[in-house]
Subunit: 346 residues, 4 copies
């Protein structure tokens, strides 16, 4: 059994890691840290875990963490970078669900995250954990940077179009809608049910931290600069991301059937990316609680614009599920281990 620790076990990505890992046949979660809840049983705070999780929250301590083979950071940005180096030095694999190691450029990171990076030298070692692009590198790294939720949905939707240079790279549009669990489990007025229920809004149109992350990812594939308009929205539900992606075909003669085939071929061996039949529209509920990404392709009214619909559960494929998928790869397990669940419908 792989001994695993979760640092920051009281946020939604932390408890979602627990939901998955307590049933993972190869993992034993032995350490779950939380400064605020230290000393309490995990299942006292999260009664959904009663009977399946016999651990107390502890304060994070290096020695305790270093006894594990893998440490997940489900912490606010700026925490993982303070501990990663010491853990790696003690041969512990680090899987960071925060943004600390997602950027290749620490100056850019500082600009968007508002702090100095604590270990810029480590950045080059980190692998960006989108298995559909980086599977080989993921298997070989000890420092894994889990992608953000929006970046996962957007990159998987654009990927085949970018790889095949089918669309105008200078004018991509990603209109993306997220459930409110993306805002995290922290006390804030803006995420109250009275504020977010029964209402819909865009936010951060002038610039969201996931914009440079998406751009970096797509540019890595395109091998050239891309121009992306990214508009995130908050939708009155708890889980789920729906990305509606727009690109202009370079050749208006391109046939949507060919694009459909292209997507199907690109993802035919991917366990967690599912290209739907043409003409369909994925609901976010199709993937609620599961690690799947469902994608559908449209070309409305025969125009030169291709519309891609891409849905994930922000807490699973957009966070904890993808982290476990990466862990499976890093430990040479079956990539689906612990992740074969059916979405909760209705």
């Amino acid at each position: 059994m792989i001994r695993a620790a979760i640092v920051g076990g009281t946020g939604y990505t932390g408890v979602e890691l627990l939901r998955i890992l307590v049933l993972h046949p190869d993992v034993d979660v032995t350490v779950v840290t939380s400064r605020s809840d230290a000393g309490q049983r995990v299942d006292a705070i999260y009664p959904s875990l009663r009977g399946l999780c016999n651990v107390d929250f502890t304060v994070p301590e290096l020695d305790a963490l270093a006894e594990c083979e893998v440490v997940f950071f489900a912490t606010p940005n700026g925490t993982a970078m303070l501990l990663a180096e010491q853990l790696l030095a003690r041969n512990v694999k680090v899987i960071d669900l925060s943004a600390d190691f997602r950027f290749k450029d620490d100056k850019e990171w500082s600009k968007w995250y508002g702090m100095e990076h604590a270990c810029p030298d480590l950045i080059s070692q980190a692998v960006y954990g989108l298995p559909e692009i980086n599977r080989v590198a993921i298997k070989q790294t000890n420092l894994l940077a889990c992608p953000g939720c929006y970046p996962t949905a957007v990159q998987l939707g654009f990927l085949p179009l970018i790889e095949n240079k089918l669309i105008d790279f200078s004018h991509l549009i990603a209109d993306v809608k997220s459930g409110v669990s993306g805002a995290g489990r922290k006390a804030q007025v803006s995420a109250l049910m009275s504020e977010t229920g029964e209402s819909f809004k865009a936010y951060a149109v002038s610039g969201h931290r996931h914009l440079p992350e998406i751009t970096q990812g797509l540019e890595g594939v395109a091998n050239q600069s891309i121009g992306l308009i990214f508009v995130p929205h908050l939708t009155p539900m708890i889980r789920g991301i729906h990305a509606t992606l727009y690109g202009r075909l370079n050749k208006s003669s391109d046939d949507i059937n060919d694009v459909q085939t292209l997507f199907e071929q690109r993802y035919q061996n991917e366990q967690f990316v599912d290209v739907l039949p043409q003409g369909t529209h994925p609901d976010t509920r199709n993937v609620r609680g599961s690690n799947n990404c469902q994608i559908a392709i449209h070309q409305p009214q025969g125009s030169d614009t291709v519309v891609v619909l891409s849905v994930i559960d922000n807490l699973v494929k957009g966070a904890a599920g993808q982290a476990v998928q990466n862990m499976n790869l890093m430990f040479e397990l079956d990539e689906k281990q612990g992740l074969t669940t059916v979405a909760l419908y209705p």
Copy 2:
């Protein structure tokens, strides 16, 4: 007092008309028809109206309707066109909330609505009731076609950009999100709470009936053809539409401050269109239950793409409220009469 009838009083636009009209100081709703509920008190079906509506549902009869000065059709498509001619002949003003008189071309209408138009000769008499464009004509007509909910939010958002030819007309994108009340009050699995709650999806990407309506409206303003991609989505809330609109500025040198000023000037005398300060993001709840449209303008990252956010309540400015606004104009009342309400927050 203006005697008013509502044909089709058991749908959401019908009951919303009642919500507004029972408090309208110049209107007396004397006839409310419903084939299914005929004989019952209106407030037995809609207890929210108890004490304010002393009318029974009746089956629609021409003579009873013709005793009114205005007849609102809150019916499924294809009903108003069967009665409009006779009512007009008896000097009754007709305000149609369905789509029967929205199109200028009855062939196009038949294509999208799947039936022959019953009175194509009347179409040219009908005025499209978007007061922000057609106020003068509205005041003079007896046959008013109320705009659809999506078309209202989208046209008001694009209008100043089109009128001033600021953007590339060939590549407009409208990514629009609607609450589920837009699906109407009819028995259908797809609108059950278990189907629509806690989930988000796009639908009708290949072509929605509101697409040609929006195109017709914008082309009327542009005096040339326009190319529009329109993607409607269903969001898990009851009321509200949020349109996220994308256009490419013809001159990338155009300053967002100028665009902001342009919007403010365009709508400065409009009672129900409110341009928000730059950098803000309207929530649909800001207009829940009110006849307002709130608009904000963005130019993300200094790109050449302008992003317009436009929100309305689909049942008010997108249907019943706009119908009453049109009625006020047609009867030379204060345009705001009966419509001065505050949105319900939270």
Copy 3:
């Protein structure tokens, strides 16, 4: 025009007061205080009020408040009692929406609210503002204690049964369900949408602050002690309270038809209490945004237990609407002034 101030204008009861008062024909809201938002326009924080509220938030200052004829306290418990005496001394009427003046016994108050009462001498002057019981006294007071939301729904439901001694006073049960806006507009994890959405729970079963308030009210009517089990629940919606009340008829021979008649007679002159036909079930949406209480009476299976269903909007009849109703009485205005609205359905 009555000059009114709202102390604590950024909570939900404060903004709900604004929603009602900006359209009240006899009131001019001239002061709205908020320590956190002082200096900002009210409609910058609450865009639903744009065009209707031309006031800035200020810090609370006695002199500014004393220039008003009435001051509403929409503050956390423990604030109104610090200012009430000085305001009353300057001939300002005080309407307190918090709990400071609801109890007749300051020791009991201290026990439940965890602080010393700052002005126990004032308590005897305060009138408990449930107009259906205390209308005469309300008209004569300058210090009005608005009832809590749960107590309003529960007392109105039990009142005719208690007044007529129809049920066993020693074993009343109130199983009550509230929307989440009752938790207020403050940053707290427990009221996040991710915590409260799609879930239902009871809370404070061992003792909720509204229990002694209800008991005091009912005992005042009964003229004897009563035994009440009060179980509050949180339901995943924003507005609304539904009280399900259980009492055992003293004479099992009592006929439900007589009970129905009794309720109808008791409330026949009440503007805001509406007894529904027998056999019906009020939805909370029937009163969403309105000041009404709707009540239905049942006697299941001919048993000796009467079941009363009582619904209100917790922010209107349960808070701000009732406060305005009381203000109307205190200023000898029509009791319905500013409160004639239709609930928002759907």
Copy 4:
């Protein structure tokens, strides 16, 4: 592998059976019937099952069903009773999730379900599938009647109190709240999101079909008649039942600590009933998607009334999960097989 059929695979209990059974290691679902969707792939209707269910909907045919070892009926009431006899005759085990075999008295059944029972002779063979009461009989039967959702939550909550004769049997109260999926997946206005969202109501107070089912169950345990007031409510969420149960202790001297201990002992060997620590309040989300029932006990203010809070997921422990639990028992499998999942939080 056990070959299983699901008759009525397009309702919520049917698709929930599929969600569980496609991952059950000992079961192979070979037949899924639906008259309306026959000929289509199951995962075309339910995309959440893509990759896990390679079956088409078929029309129900006896021969095809009889090739299975077990047939689940997830049908409307009145269907299972038409096929059960023939299936039993061919040595197929029948697990009925509808109400057809829940009552011991076919006259009573006819009264509540409005039709003649098609096979009253079979009723005595049927075992009521609440394992916590009937485990031994369940293991031996071939005809299993799955309990209703409300009856499961209510009986498990009252059981220890009844078995130990702690409360007054003549005056039990069950105030129960259900999510809307309990209304099923059929086209009906009353279950639209616009009708059920953001609102709360009681229904069927005069008598709900689950009342006699609960009474029969509790009387079987009590060995005497009981008097129960059962008030069901609809709460604006999809899944979950919360029962709030009230009983008067026969000896007011009874200590809540003893009652707590009693519950813990009663359920200590039950895999799916979890007694929470004293003073806690279970959220329905604690069991969303899982087969657990969580129970908490309270004695408010030291009164002689015990309050039991009992939560389940209506589609799992209240339907499909309990059906699989029963199947496991009937086939001598581990009772938890296929049911070890963690509730979806948030």
